[in-house]
């Protein structure tokens, strides 16, 4: 046994240094949101200053934050739900009944994600316009779930493969139908995996900016459009942008932190008891 307290000290310092370095830009952004615009660009950077809530007031006054937040919530949860509904059966099938086509299908699913969004903007815009999906929450849910489905399927596939086939075979021996196998045996076993996939999907949809900006105007715009409206006007804007994006990431940050604890409680990559 080594000197535990020395090792612990070293670990503590290393751990906290890493954490603070990684978090620092966010902290700096948060601090900037309380500065006036001219203080925000001061040289040398102002570490001591008189804080103001003016930026938050200006930001909240200019746009209906709650409406944007609500849309973000609905779109993130809706897309994730849709992606899971479609992805779970697909991943199940590919993980436990693999055929020669399985790898090809996986690759094909991933390759559809490799088309940069800017390249496919016009076709999607035309399609959405003709289907009447522009500026609708459903339209955004649809495009977001398309975007995220390959990732969801891929991750679920990886998690499902961790479940030993013997357990499922045992249930099959007991006479369970595939549906029962899926719902009563597999899902409970891989809940942590599904949870982390869902978390990832929610975060990705929450931060999705390209489609939100291009396919919505007023009714379905999400927090990414809200934040974008404070970026790059003519003039000083960094303090207000900091305020807007603090408001924008606060919900997802809090949500992520809460669910992280749930996730850490039992994601198993190969050690199912």
């Amino acid at each position: 046994m080594r000197n535990t307290w020395q090792a612990r000290w070293g670990l503590t310092i290393a751990g906290w240094t890493v954490a603070l370095l990684m978090f620092f830009p966010i902290l700096w952004m948060f601090v900037t949101s309380f500065k006036t615009e001219i203080t925000a660009v001061a040289t040398p950077p102002a570490l001591v200053f008189r804080p103001t809530l003016g930026n938050y007031a200006a930001v909240l006054e200019r746009a209906d934050y709650l409406a944007f937040a609500k849309n973000s919530l609905v779109v993130s949860l809706g897309s994730t739900l849709l992606a899971l509904l479609l992805g779970v059966p697909a991943a199940y099938s590919m993980a436990f009944f693999p055929t020669r086509a399985t790898r090809g299908i996986l690759l094909w699913m991933l390759s559809t994600k490799m088309l940069p969004a800017v390249g496919v903007l016009v076709p999607i815009y035309l399609l959405w316009r003709d289907l009447g999906l522009l500026d609708t929450v459903f339209g955004l849910v649809l495009i977001d779930s398309i975007s995220v489905l390959p990732i969801v399927v891929w991750m679920l596939f990886s998690f499902f493969r961790e479940v030993p086939a013997v357990i499922l075979e045992a249930s099959r021996m007991d006479g369970a139908t595939p549906t029962e196998e899926l719902t009563h045996v597999l899902l409970p076993l891989s809940t942590p995996g599904i949870a982390s996939t869902a978390l990832l999907s929610i975060i990705l949809c929450w931060n999705e900016a390209f489609w939100s900006l291009n396919l919505t105007t007023v009714k379905a715009a999400t927090l990414t459009a809200f934040t974008a409206s404070f970026a790059s006007p003519e003039g000083l804007f960094w303090a207000k942008l900091s305020a807007a994006s603090t408001l924008s990431i606060a919900p997802i940050l809090i949500f992520g932190w809460i669910s992280q604890r749930q996730m850490a409680r039992g994601l198993s990559f190969g050690a199912v008891k």
């Binding site: 001219i38 746009a63 035309l126 316009r129 007023v218 006007p233 003519e234 003039g235």
Partner: protein, 442 residues
């Protein structure tokens, strides 16, 4: 015990009355307008004051507020695909004639006799028209002037003439460049983009006697004037500019000047009011104004740009939209801003009456300079040489957004010292030629 026939009748009457009320109750559908605008301070003020308009007219306004580049992309894709997402859009003097030509915008020549068409500066109005019809109503307009630090000039015993020449500017920059104290001789746009560094370099090239294209639409980027202008620009910025100039666009430079890091800055007139506001700048009492510098010829030394409101032809609410546009670009709106927020903050550059107003001239000491700059900026004659295009800081063809950005990227490589000016211009010439070839094939 109630007699059944009576209660049935009562019920029937009640239901009938309810139906009647439901049918006859006026559906309070307030007409709604979707307005898309840039997130500049003047438009934000308009957004705030538009509650006045909503109150007066009973119209409900829905706002889409975005940065200039994102907005332009969003609007273009919508209007080009015949979408009817927006009722009022904010566009600039680059798009207005092009979109008017394609029949995508509603002509705005019928806003009424009291609108004061003749009050709008001719150049501004022309820049928003196609074949004589005005397709967008100017909200504000700008040109270029030179900002400088009176205190730094005084300390060095220098004096900024009203009409500086670029050679003088170079000498001033040399004298005032003081990186040890975080003061740089001159700040100029360096960020690549057709609306960023190319906007400025365009004016430089024009005043050095050059032009983008000859009358046969052949790009002239390797001509003597271009080489001189771009070499001057690269030398000036490399030697007397702030570090990292290639990521400095309009915003970064404005922040630098407001923070006191620049001795001089040549850029848009619309920044002037903000420099005089102590809550947004540290140089409120020390900012001086002069005309945009010239080199060999005065043509094209200062640009002309205006942000304007327009109506897509596909919008079904054109009549109401016209009401709003008339309100937002009228003399009374300008007076409203002056009264409510102060005369320093009225939207500048669009109307002659603003500059005849003693209250404005009193609040804005730069007003006469701006007025003269706008009057002299002839966007139909940007160069001393004959040209087939209009536009001073841009070329009024739809391909210019892409061409300008490509050339802008090549020039930034010269600024970063990765290639020589000649090499950068050769590459830029090849890019432009290729792009123009594609054009003629269409």
């Amino acid at each position: 015990m109630v007699p059944t026939h009576l209660s049935w009748r009562k019920l029937g009457l009640l239901v009938g009355a309810a139906l009647l009320v439901w049918i006859l109750y006026p559906a309070t559908h307030r007409p709604e307008l979707t307005v898309a605008t840039v997130n500049n301070a003047d438009m934000i003020l308009m957004q705030q004051l538009s509650r006045e308009f909503e109150r007066q007219s009973g119209v409900k306004l829905n706002w889409v507020v975005l940065g200039e580049n994102v907005l332009r992309q969003r609007l273009t894709i919508d209007i080009a695909t015949g979408g009817n997402t927006f009722d009022v859009i904010t566009i600039g003097s680059f798009e207005a004639p092009l979109w008017g030509e394609r029949g995508w915008l509603v002509p705005l020549d019928d806003l009424g006799a009291d609108y004061g068409y003749e009050d709008i500066f001719d150049g501004v109005r022309q820049g928003l028209s196609y074949q004589g019809k005005m397709y967008a109503a100017p909200f504000y307009a700008e040109s270029t002037i030179t900002y400088y630090r009176k205190d730094l000039f005084q300390k060095a015993g220098l004096e900024m003439p009203l009409q500086p020449h670029y050679e003088q500017i170079r000498q001033f920059a040399q004298r005032l460049h003081d990186p040890a104290h975080d003061v740089y001789g001159i700040c100029l746009r360096g960020e690549p983009g057709w609306g960023q560094n190319i906007g400025y370099v365009s004016t430089l090239v024009h005043t050095f006697g050059g032009r983008w294209m000859d009358l046969d639409w052949k790009p002239q980027l390797t001509s003597q004037a271009w080489v001189e202008a771009v070499s001057f620009y690269v030398d000036l910025l490399k030697n007397y500019g702030p570090p990292g100039a290639i990521t400095d666009g309009y915003n970064e430079n404005r922040a630098l000047f407001a923070n006191g890091n620049c001795a001089m800055w040549v850029d848009a007139t619309s920044a002037a009011s903000y420099f005089l506001d102590p809550s947004q700048s540290r140089v409120a009492t020390t900012t001086g104004f002069a005309k945009a510098p010239i080199a060999k010829v005065p043509n094209g030394a200062a640009w002309l740009w205006s942000w304007a409101l327009a109506i897509p032809t596909s919008s079904p609410r054109g009549a109401v939209a016209k009401q709003f546009i008339k309100w937002a670009t009228s003399r009374s709106y300008i007076a409203l801003v002056g009264k409510r927020f102060g005369w320093l903050w009225v939207p500048p550059g669009s109307r002659k009456s603003t500059y005849d107003n003693p209250e404005y001239v009193r609040a804005a000491p730069f007003a006469p300079l701006v007025r003269e700059a706008i009057l002299n900026a002839d966007y139909t004659k940007p160069s001393a040489l004959p040209v087939p295009y209009v536009g001073i800081q841009y070329v009024g063809i739809p391909e210019f957004q892409a061409i300008g950005t490509e050339v802008g990227q090549e020039l930034s490589a010269a600024l970063a010292g990765r290639v020589t000016v000649e090499q950068a211009l050769a590459l830029a010439q090849a890019d432009a030629e290729r792009a123009m070839q594609g054009r003629h094939q269409k």
